[in-house]
């Protein structure tokens, strides 16, 4: 090592290269040795063995396989059960003996960096919520941020006063918790893509920062910095979504950035002629819906052909808002209004000229946000809770949310797991907030 630069590189490599999550054992290697020998024996059985080597191969390859198996058996009684006495794999579970590399170790393996287990607290028995529909019961009493609840792979995820929590839908218990402090206030719920939960960490200035957490342990997996084109509108809401192609779509000013969750980088930028408020991708991946902001004007809605990245339709709303887009087979849903009155609209085919207002919406500074979950679209708010057809927008079932002591109660984003609907809840009484579990009527799952 001669130059300072070489020393710096050497230091960097030693400093930044992490410790492996697990080591290699002699048993791992013994299985590999046995597998190689078995493959060699199979190769020997092929009729194409070259003359001159064939005889020699016949003499020792089977013996090599047998010897290797003896070695494996001696090295580990446990792994020896994976192999027959002839050295062939006895079970398809013996993947290490195959030519394929070992599958990645499960992300749920214990890790020092895994999301912290929350401090034990007394069990919280479910409590009925008076006035709330569909047998609503409060299963978790934490300060869940409004419209931060989402579901993925059998778990609920929510932002709770400075942390991202993974919640057991059966008990309401917090299973894992990771530090999370979004600034400015939440611009959308976490998004589950595969076994990774992605959350917007910062949404201001010249770049947007996404953080990815392991869906099981909430261990930090990656961060992606996305450059902003133009500027980020203050009304941005619902800025991140996962497409059916597995990629993330992020509203990043005057563009939508397509982020590969596996490569941790922006793989495509689709320019938009105005700052983007929200983005959604059709379930079949063919269309992208983008709502845009214009100062003093109603929001706009653009429909993009994702294959070509070109606009195929555009329309304009009749009010402000335009956040929280959700795409379904029949069109796109979003919110309009602000302040003391907000509601959800549905635009068939992405045409706002044909849009309809859905249900009563919300007042008092609360949102009315659509979500698509469990095969239906759910519209929460402070007046009604409804489920609707994702194809036609027709209301399938609806129930009033009664006020409590003259003050509204609120049921926010609905997420469905196993026939139950979960929503973040706010009541007027102190301490009356958290996650509720409901049992919607069968019509919602039509």
């Amino acid at each position: 090592m001669s130059t300072q630069e070489e020393r710096q590189l050497s230091d960097l490599l030693h400093r930044v290269t992490p410790e492996p999550p697990r080591g290699v054992t002699v048993e791992d290697v013994a299985i590999r040795v046995a597998g190689e020998a078995v493959r060699s024996r199979r190769a020997y059985r092929q009729p194409r063995i070259r003359r001159g080597w064939a005889g020699r191969g016949r003499a020792w390859v089977p013996a090599l396989a047998a010897a290797a198996v003896v070695a494996v058996a001696a090295a580990s009684a446990g792994v020896a059960t994976l192999l027959t006495s002839r050295g062939g794999p006895a079970s398809p579970a013996s993947g290490h003996g195959s030519t394929a590399p070992p599958a990645p170790a499960s992300a749920s393996a214990s890790s020092p960096a895994a999301g912290q287990r929350p401090a034990a607290r007394p069990a919280f028995p479910p409590r009925p919520v008076a006035g709330a529909p569909w047998g609503a019961e409060l299963i978790n009493p934490d300060e869940v941020a409004q419209d931060s609840l989402t579901a993925g792979d059998g778990s609920l995820y929510a932002v709770v006063s400075g942390s991202l929590d993974r919640i057991d839908p059966a008990t309401g218990n917090v299973l894992r918790s990771a530090p999370y402090q979004s600034a400015p206030p939440l611009v959308g719920p976490p998004v589950v893509a595969g076994n990774t939960v992605w959350a917007v960490w910062s949404y201001s200035g010249r770049s947007v920062l996404l953080h990815g957490y392991d869906g099981t342990t909430l261990a930090p997996l990656a961060s992606v910095t996305v450059p902003v084109t133009g500027w980020l509108p203050a009304t941005a809401q619902g800025v991140l979504t996962a497409g059916p192609d597995g990629n993330l779509y992020l509203a990043a000013g005057g563009a939508v950035a397509v982020v590969s969750p596996s490569r941790h980088r922006v793989i495509r930028q689709i320019r938009v002629p105005a700052p983007v408020i929200s983005v959604a991708v059709a379930p079949d991946g063919s269309r992208m819906y983008v709502s845009t902001s214009a100062t003093g004007q109603p929001f706009g809605l653009l429909v993009y052909d994702l294959a070509t990245g070109t606009v195929v339709a555009s329309s304009t709303g009749s009010a402000g808002g335009g956040g929280n887009l959700v795409a379904t087979a029949g069109g796109v849903w979003g919110t309009a209004g602000s302040g003391m009155s907000q509601w959800t609209w549905f635009a068939p085919g992405g045409n706002l000229a044909r849009s309809v207002r859905v249900q009563g919406g919300a007042g008092g500074g609360l949102a009315s946000v659509p979500t698509a979950s469990g095969g239906a679209v759910w519209i929460g708010g402070s007046r009604t809770l409804a489920c609707a057809s994702p194809a036609t927008g027709a209301i399938l079932a609806s129930a009033a949310i009664a006020a409590e002591g003259g003050a509204p109660q609120y049921l926010g984003r609905v997420a469905v797991i196993g026939g139950h609907a979960y929503a973040d809840y706010q009541g007027d009484q102190a301490g009356r907030l958290g996650v509720v579990r409901m049992t919607p009527p069968a019509a919602c799952f039509g």
Partner: protein
């Protein structure tokens, strides 16, 4: 084509505590972490790194006594690792696609800064041709000499010097790496 390239069976006679050659278990216990880290630098993926290390150790197993006599087991294992890596790259084989990187050790304090640093490092290494990457790992992580690196790669010392110089130039131009090299993030 030489037919089946495996050693004679007699070297696989069962010996040592658990069937493996004498000293093999101790070597694996002592060096597997460092070898895995080198594998991670080569491939950017723990599963592929593990595959590389297992492949190399499996190749070393039947030759172990000879390698120990030459006092070169680790050099040999690294040689197999880099040559296996180069073969994979020649075949454009990238192994199984991991759905995400495994959680890594460390506290929460600056864990994202660490993750960022690792991503920057891997992104910079990804920009290197395979042989330059192998030279970087052997020379600057495994601290091998130029002649040892040349022997591992089957090339001349001059070629190693050339690969190293070109790799340094590319790494110097990689976004964010110059700051890291001058002492940015600690793990």
């Amino acid at each position: 084509m030489r037919g089946i390239d495996v050693p004679p069976v007699e070297v696989l006679r069962v010996e040592g505590r658990g069937g493996e050659p004498d000293g093999f278990r101790e070597f694996v216990a002592a060096r597997s972490a460092a070898l895995l880290r080198a594998g991670w630098l080569l491939t950017g993926d723990w599963a592929a790194a593990e595959d590389l290390v297992q492949t190399a150790l499996a190749a070393a197993w039947p030759r172990w006594e000879s390698l120990v006599r030459q006092d070169a087991p680790e050099l040999y294992v690294r040689k197999i690792m880099v040559n296996t890596f180069l073969r994979w790259r020649q075949r454009r084989w990238n192994g199984e696609i991991a759905t995400g990187r495994l959680p890594e050790a460390g506290g929460y304090g600056d864990v994202f800064a660490q993750v960022d640093a690792r991503q920057s490092l891997l992104a910079a290494l990804d920009r290197l041709p395979a042989r330059q990457r192998a030279v970087v790992v052997l020379r600057y992580f495994a601290d091998q000499t130029e002649s040892q690196t040349a022997a591992a790669l089957g090339c001349s010392v001059g070629a190693v010097k050339s690969h190293a110089a070109k790799a340094l130039a590319r790494l110097r131009a990689a976004p964010g790496l110059a700051e890291l090299m001058s002492g940015g993030v600690t793990s």
